[in-house]
Every structure is written in structure tokens, then in C-alpha cells.
Amino acid sequence: MSTAQQTKVIARTEGKLIARNKTVLFSATLFPLALTALYLIQDAEGPLAAAGLTSIMVAIFSSMTVYMTVTLTAVSRRQDLYLKRLRSGESSDVAIFAGITLPTALLCVAQMIVVVVVLAIIGFEVPSEPWWIVTAALGSIISCLAMGLGTASVTPNASAAQMTTVPYFLFVIGSVFATPFADSQLMDLTPGGAIVTFARMAFDVPTPGSALTAAAGLVIWTVIGIELARRFFRWEPRS
């Protein structure tokens, strides 16, 4: 059985578990609605404001829906010995990681699509080069997936996850808000700065950053997450 087939089975099961978790379902519905409302109530207009709000959307969805959920899911499944169970079967490690994280990533993509569709309907500012938003979203989701697994590697239990996820979450959101003030290409190396640069490029707003440095920023955080997971991830709780 291929890794892709195993991933599909595990992801389908994880999807069921998410659908049966009222908290996740509630937040998955609430966030798109709240963010859409944010777009509607703000007064600012024009490409700069649109780029700023798009950056916030990508950062919040990827850090909350993906990063925090993946960390909590991986830690909870480990605590329940569900990961050990999966590993006692034929599934490869890659299939298990991909299977438990894929539904969260898809949920995040769905949330973003909902917001984009609603904004298109109400006639919000349209990006001139939308693929940079797609790049920002995918890059941010991937780096948050990796950092989620990395953070789960150093998180002993589900309660602790509420604390261990705070620093990176604040870092992502904080760097989104700080980037316009810093006005430096170095900010591209922060996860939020990279998102802001891509969003500005999408709306054709001048930026000190570049696609290359922004991509490098997201790759760096992806590599850090993967390396943390590779070195420290455990399949069962410490006894």
C-alpha cells in the first residue's frame, strides 16, 4: 500500500474526528465570518489597506487554524497513544504526519476561499497579481504545518500546548503588524513579514522586500519546524 493511500485513509479519519469536535467546527465557521466582518467595517480603502488586511487574513488563518490545531492534534493523538497505534500498523511515518495534518490544512484553505469569495461578491479591491496571495497562503500553511509538528515535539501534553503555541503565534501575528513600520527587507525572514511582502506584491504596492527573500523566510521556518520534529518528535508520551 502506497504512502499516498495510507495518507488518504488517515486524513479521512482525521477529517471525521475534526467534524465531530464542536470546538474546532465552531472556530472554523467563526473565523471566516469574523474576518469578513473586519473587511467590511474598516474604513481604509485602496491597495495598501487591501494588502494589509489580506496579510492579516493569511497570518491568522494559518497560525490559528493550522499551527495551533496541528500542535494540539499531534500532542493529543500522542497522549491518547493513537499515534503509537497507527505506527504499530503498516503506515509510514510520512503518511501518519501527512494524514493527521492534511485535513487542517484543507480546512484553512476552505476558510480562505470562503472569505475571498465573499469579498469578490461585495466588490472588494481585486489584486492585480493574485498568485502572490496563493503563494503567501500556501507558503504560510506549509511553514505553520512544520512549526506545528516542531512545537508538538517539545510539548509534553495537551494542556501545555496552550502555552507552547503562544510564542510562535504571537511572532507570526506580531511580525505582520511590525513589518510596515520596520520598512526593511530583513523582515521578510519573519513569517509575518514574508506574508506582507507577498500580499503587497499581489496588490502592486511598493515593498522593501522581494519574492526571493520572502520565500526564503517561509522556507527557513519550514526547515526549523521539520528539523525540530525530526530531532525531538516522540510517538508516545514520556513515561
Binding site: M1, V9, D80, Y82, S88, E90
Partner: protein
């Protein structure tokens, strides 16, 4: 003579360490195909670490290990399709139903029984076998401890693997469930499946296992069939001390008629005599009592049991020895 191809598991000088602490300190194991092998051990003996290493969950820190002809850690994809593993603790997604759990497990296996068109029948048959059919649509989180153990056993055996690891399969089960689990394990063995069992219930090992190993302090203290393990242990003859006869008098008398042996006083007037040849000792003991006009009340003869062997090892009295 056992050839390599007859062996499901072969370990030589197997070692497993956690940092500086060596939990398994060089064990040799040969488990034959189709055999039921019980791995017992005192607390902290290294039994769980050994099991997890055999299952491929841990990398051995030394020695060699072959499970079904492969290294279970580095060649996991080749070994796992032929293994069934019943974990010591459940490890289920509590919000899945019983039938969803078994269905997912089959869908993740490369067994022909997991093919889509056969899966529903396989799931139904497996749950019937362990009396879980009426709980099919119950969420796992709502199952009792015993039902979870049965579900564990379903997952370990539903793909009909060649080699099954059962880690304390009946812990937490009521006597009826335990009996039904034993029946299933015996059926598995009857079908030629190799089974490695760990348990805290010594009678379970006595009843089910073809061969038994007892671990102590990271090493295998004894290994062999039940008969091999208990045969060279002394049989115990116990009786009540006759009135008017002191323990010292009896000790002297028995030394004369039976020879050097171990005599222990139990309670106020109970005596326990360890002997190698129980029949000869009993005849001489009764002869001595008859000739001196003593009556020996509450006389019993008990063969050494696995429990005695285990207790000796746990007490640290047992030198490392491996029965042939």
C-alpha cells in the same frame, strides 16, 4: 534441529539502552514459527522494552535481531504487513465508532482482507468473533475497559498476520472475557500463527505457552518449556508437626531417614520439606512416622509451579540459567 527458516524471531546478544541506562543487557532468543512464547518478567525487568524492540518500535543498541527474516526497525515496511500488535494500552481515537476503527485499520493494511469489496464482511466477522457486534456503532470512548481490550485484539488479528505480539491481552478483563480471549488465542495458535505473549497472570502463561522466558534485570533468567522450568525445582511436602515432637527432633530424624534437605517451619506448627524425589521422601517420612507412632496431619505434596520459579527470580535468588 531448528533451522533458521523455522525461526520467526532470532535475537543474539540483543541490547537496548535509554541513554546510559541499559534496559536489556544482551539476551538470546529463538522463537519458532507457529509457537506460542510467553515473555514474563519482574517489574522493570526489560520485558516491555524487549517487546517494543521485537515489534520494531525501538532500535536495538546492540546485538542482532531478525523478525520474520528482517530487521524489524530498519526494514519496517517489509515486516509490518505480517505482524499483528496488541499494545499494552489501547490507543484509539475515542470519537470513532468501533466499526469505523476496525474499518480504518483494515483500510490501512495491505492484506487482501482489507480490500474494499471484502472489508465489510471481514469487519463483521472479526467483531462477531470477539462479541463486539452489538457495540459496532458505539463510539470507542464509551466502551468499557474490557471491550477496549477486545477491540485491541480484533485489530491485532483481523488481518490474519503470521506473527502476533500480545502485550498483556487479558489485563482488566472479567473471567468470562478472559476465557473467551484465551479461546481466541488458542484458535490463532491452532491456525499456525506465531504468538509472543506478555502477561502478569502466570496461570495464563502456564495454560497457553509452549515455551516461557522470565526476564530479570535486563536478562533472561530462565527459558524453556513449563516442564523444563519446574522439573529441577524441589517438590514440597508439608504437614503439621505431631504433638509432643519438637521441630529439632523432626529435623534430626528426617536427616537420618531422608538425608540433607531443607526444612522450614510455617506458622506455629506447620512444616514444609523441600525434596527432589517426592515419592521416595514421602515413603520414608510416612515410614518414620508409623514406626514412631506419630500422626502427620494435613499432609500435602505440591509440585513446584511457575509461580515458585518466578518468586525465586524476583527475590534475586536465581542465578542466570537457560534451560536447554
Amino acid at each position: 534441529m531448528t533451522t533458521t527458516t523455522d525461526l520467526a524471531i532470532q535475537a543474539h546478544d540483543l541490547r537496548c539502552a535509554y541513554g546510559d541506562f541499559e534496559a536489556v543487557r544482551g539476551i538470546d532468543l529463538e522463537i519458532r514459527s507457529g509457537e506460542m512464547f510467553a515473555l514474563l518478567g519482574t517489574n522493570g525487568a526489560g520485558k516491555t522494552t524487549t517487546m517494543e524492540t521485537l515489534e520494531g518500535h525501538r532500535r536495538a543498541s546492540g546485538g542482532s535481531l531478525s523478525v520474520l527474516g528482517h530487521d524489524p526497525y530498519t526494514e519496517r515496511p517489509r515486516v509490518r504487513p505480517r505482524l499483528g500488535i496488541m499494545l499494552q494500552e489501547s490507543g484509539f481515537a475515542g470519537e470513532l465508532t468501533v466499526v469505523e476503527t476496525v474499518d480504518m485499520w483494515l483500510a490501512l493494511s495491505s492484506s487482501p482482507l482489507g480490500e474494499k469489496h471484502r472489508r465489510a464482511d471481514t469487519v463483521a466477522e472479526a467483531m462477531d468473533r470477539l462479541d463486539l457486534a452489538d457495540r459496532a456503532d458505539t463510539r470507542v470512548v464509551q466502551l468499557s475497559g474490557g471491550q477496549k481490550r477486545r477491540l485491541d485484539l480484533v485489530l491485532a488479528t483481523v488481518t490474519r498476520p503470521d506473527l502476533v505480539f500480545l502485550d498483556e491481552p487479558t489485563t482488566g478483563l472479567d473471567p468470562e472475557s478472559r476465557r473467551r480471549t484465551w479461546d481466541l488465542i488458542e484458535t490463532l495458535r491452532g491456525s499456525g500463527t506465531t504468538i509472543v505473549l506478555t502477561t502478569h497472570y502466570l496461570e495464563e502463561a502456564e495454560r497457553l505457552a509452549d515455551r516461557i522466558a522470565i526476564m530479570h534485570a535486563g536478562r533472561i533468567a530462565v527459558e524453556g518449556t513449563l516442564a523444563e522450568l519446574v522439573d529441577d525445582r524441589p517438590t514440597q511436602i508439608s504437614f503439621r508437626r505431631p504433638e509432643g515432637v519438637s521441630s529439632a527432633d523432626i529435623d534430626r530424624a528426617l536427616r537420618t531417614v531422608i538425608g540433607p534437605r531443607h526444612l522450614e517451619t510455617v506458622g506455629r506448627d506447620g512444616l514444609v520439606l523441600d525434596v527432589v524425589d517426592a515419592q521416595q521422601a514421602l515413603v520414608r517420612l510416612l515410614g518414620w512416622a508409623e514406626s514412631h507412632g506419630h500422626r502427620l496431619d494435613n499432609i500435602t505434596v505440591s509440585q513446584a509451579s511457575l509461580s515458585d520459579v518466578f518468586a525465586q527470580i524476583a527475590a534475586g535468588e536465581q542465578k542466570q540459567e537457560v534451560a536447554a
